[in-house]
Symmetry: C2
Subunit: 347 residues, 2 copies
């Protein structure tokens, strides 16, 4: 199994093809040859074909381990996991990211931290001890100092989540929450609903504000009354209380929710009042978690496989071509999954 | 911030405490000092106190990076993720394992593989390129060749899941599925049920057979009729068909299920027949996923935080003390979480 690559006595070293000889044969720069080997997605197909032909003709074998030593790359991205509560969206992203990074020959290393400050402390240790190539950050929020820190120390990062202030000029991938709640609201309008409320999170969350704005803009565009929204932290019981308050105050025939967890609270409240979810009050959630399918809840599915693929690609590009100075930013639309909870309005 | 530790001109090197001088001062072996530093949980408290006092007195500072070079340890465990479908139990284990490994100063590196053969191929690459200290395996099954492979190449591993044949003499941690379904069955007997069926997985799964046996033994011990079980793969629709068949054939007043997914199928079938879950037919699931809480499903919660802590501890022990030849094996009991789906039998 083991192929010895030492230079001990008795071994003859054949004339070896080099990056330079491959570049000369293909008529391209050494950087281009390196790109073909390390980040083929960055190279035009016809160029890549020329380089691969030259590699083949000259028998060039970039030994991977030697390559790592030369470039001082670990081919490892780090991702923080939160132990506080199960988060189906994060877990699906983590699985997809492991696959997407693997396809680009990177592995994912996990670490824990209690908060942003702890995360920043962890960066230094991870860089020092494991020579991490780059960081994938989640949970961006207004006042986030993490990306600025990584920028100062010159370490590549990508965030799943846009910067919610002017803190960062880094590549990011996000899901267009406003487009999602707009699609949900427009669906309900088409179902005949005219009193469509919103159950959201407390002020100050970028994601929450984004999801609220899509509903509000769709309501205005449809010329409907903008019912004052109710708010609760992301908990089914708190969501239920806020839904009760929303129903008593605004008498909606439909409720768009910032999350499946809040939607579950709304469903509990509607059911407890002896009303029928869907027929009496329609409900639409966000995230399309396992809960949605069980509860017959219409919801917005985040394209997490695509999010993860873009995150891996953007971070790999930044690691392999640090001079590429225009950080790419990708905004993806969620997809409305329609179930029984968003029935036509009862006439 | 940076404390230079080089030996350049102008630096005076104080007489340095060594592992040996600390051991001599504490009156213990060098191995014991090393254990206190690397695996304090393995050392008796009074011994650890003596060693820590000596470390303090002599100003001994085992530099972590130097220590890694010396021991050639990466302080990384690898874990395969499956991208095929969301699995709430695996995800909770993964989060808990990251925390538990972190507490012992190990990090988790994720990788993907399509099957066992792909996983075995991945071991070699992970060892070669990232110098992994040990592997955490999940999804053990009869005929599993993974642990035997790692044993042959002399790499430490621990499995979440017992070996279901005589393939492995390695440390493992598992949840006692039979104890769980026994507890579920005994709870139903106390609720007055006399016709208690079982909805399980097809033959050939070690976990499935284990969960079935707990139900069957509890039924026999209670002197009740052993109703022939129905079986389906782990899918709600398939579970629903199997539940329909079980109900038609054996007329149970309660059904113990091998998983929450199967239980969900049973709930769908019972509800579709216009019967009441709990009052007409009680249902108990396994895994206590998010689905359980939403569906009011009584279920068995796996102690995944404890499972992960034991996995991390056993693997760290094996890495740090390879001569410790008795592999420890830990079997933990799941806990029955009672909700509305397991109401007393209707008189």
């Amino acid at each position: 199994m083991a192929e010895h690559s030492g230079t001990g006595p008795g071994r003859t070293i054949p004339a070896r093809a080099t990056l330079g000889s491959v570049a000369a044969r293909a008529g391209v720069s050494k950087q281009t040859v390196s790109n073909v080997i390390n980040s083929p997605h960055m190279v035009r197909e016809d160029t890549a074909a020329k380089v691969l032909a030259a590699i083949d003709e000259l028998g060039y074998r970039p030994h991977r381990a030697a390559q790592q030593l030369r470039t001082r790359r670990s081919r490892v991205f780090a991702l923080r996991v939160q132990n506080r509560f199960p988060d189906a969206v994060f877990d699906r992203f983590l699985h997809a990211l492991t696959g997407a990074a693997g396809a680009l020959d990177y592995r994912i290393m996990l670490y824990t931290a209690d908060d942003d400050a702890g995360e920043i402390t962890a960066y230094d240790e991870l860089l020092d001890r494991w020579d991490i190539d780059g960081f994938v950050l989640t949970g961006t929020h207004p006042g986030d100092t993490r990306t600025a820190h990584l920028s100062r120390v010159g370490v590549p990062c990508v965030t799943f989540g846009r910067p919610w202030d002017d803190s960062g000029h880094h590549p990011w991938v996000d899901v267009d929450g406003a487009a999602g709640t707009r699609a949900a609201t427009e669906h309900l309008v088409r179902q005949g609903h005219r009193r469509i409320g919103f159950l959201g999170w407390p002020d100050g969350s970028g994601v929450g504000g984004d999801r609220l704005s899509g509903w509000a803009n769709a309501i205005r565009d449809a010329g409907l009354d903008l019912l004052p929204p109710s708010r609760a932290v992301n908990d089914a019981e708190q969501g239920r209380s806020a839904a009760a308050e929303l129903i008593d105050r605004t008498h909606p025939t439909a409720i768009v929710c910032a999350s499946d967890v809040l939607a579950l609270g709304a469903i509990s409240e509607i059911t407890a009042r002896g009303m029928n979810v869907g027929a009496d009050v329609a409900v639409i959630g966000f995230d399309d978690t396992d809960i949605s399918a069980v509860a017959g809840l219409s919801s917005l599915a985040q394209p997490l496989v695509d999010v993860a693929a873009h995150c891996a690609r953007l971070l790999a590009t930044l690691v392999e071509n640090p001079s590429d100075s225009r950080p790419e930013q990708v905004l993806l639309e969620p997809q409305l999954v329609i179930r029984s909870s968003s029935a036509p309005v009862r006439r």
